[in-house]
């Protein structure tokens, strides 16, 4: 059993999702998990699909490439998300400068924190990063200290806190 990992990116316009989804359906590619969002005028899609071959999907998506949509397709093994550890949130905000994401995520990785989701926003001079992190039990105190040091070096505010799942 295999899946396809697909990315699509291009200048935002009306109908990108409809066009891509239609092209995938036409070759029998079943869309499973995906994220799709607009980043500074570029529309981006990251998808996992089943049920079609790399060649079929590449051909179907290349027909959409005329208006600047760039697609990549590759075959990947089926793997489940491993949920080890406890969920935490890291927020970083401050003056934009080179290397904020690199420095902060390196500190998270060094504490065996696994980033499961991350968003950054540049808003005028303000840079913002929010990351969701799975952390092994008992490592939060150490990570908070190391993040505080990294934040001070970068001149940004860093905040680590437990993520509270909303179970309704």
């Amino acid at each position: 059993m295999h899946e396809l990992a697909i990315t699509v990116i291009g200048p935002d316009r009306t109908g990108i999702v409809a066009d891509v989804a239609e092209a995938l359906a036409a070759v029998g590619a079943n869309l499973t998990d995906s994220t799709m969002t607009r980043l500074r005028g570029h529309f981006t899609m990251t998808l996992i699909c089943t049920g079609a071959s790399v060649d079929e999907v590449e051909r179907a998506l290349s027909a959409l490439g005329d208006d600047g949509l760039l697609a990549t397709v590759r075959q990947v093994e089926v793997t489940a998300d491993s949920t080890s550890g406890e969920p935490y949130l890291v927020s970083v905000h401050g003056a934009d400068r080179l290397g904020i994401v690199a420095a902060v995520t390196r500190v998270v990785a060094a504490a065996d924190g696994n980033i499961t989701d991350l968003t950054t926003r540049l808003s005028g001079p303000l840079y913002l990063l929010v990351a969701e992190v799975d952390l092994p039990p008992g490592r939060a105190g150490e990570l908070a200290e190391r993040l505080a040091v990294a934040g001070a070096e970068l001149g940004v505010e860093v905040n680590l806190r437990p993520a509270e799942p909303e179970l309704l």
Partner: protein
Amino acid sequence: MITVVTAPAAVLSTVAEEVDPTGPEIVRLAADLVETMRAAPGCVGLAAPQIGVSAQVFCVDVTGHPKAVTTHGAFVLCNAKIVEASRWRPGREGCMSVPDLTGDVKRAGRIVVEGLRPGTGEAITLVTDAFEARAVQHEIDHCAGRLFLDRVAGAHAIFPRKVYL
């Protein structure tokens, strides 16, 4: 007209000093806060760090806001502390100091706050809920050097804002 400080700015990330609410400079600061809040369309609260003063003073006025339940009109509090908090709920927040973003933040839907009135220094206990409670928590956070960005609910809880209101 006082301009509002926007992030990144050190004063917005600094724990503000407690104040003597009877000091003439604090009375003046309270008036400046209310005046600046009133001058900004849609502004329902403003804390001293947002006008560049690292002091534990803020004003709130949610009168007429559709999400408000209990309202106390326009008021200013010094050295305010939350002594009880319950009914935690997520909600979307913006901030004049973060003009282009909004975020989902969990706040208590009912709070009891203790603080001092500027001028008289009278100690008051405020019991409030819903939108006024959210505004008070947002302003008390400013006095503690925190922005709503420090409390957003997740990586997908940040949104661009096109118009400030």
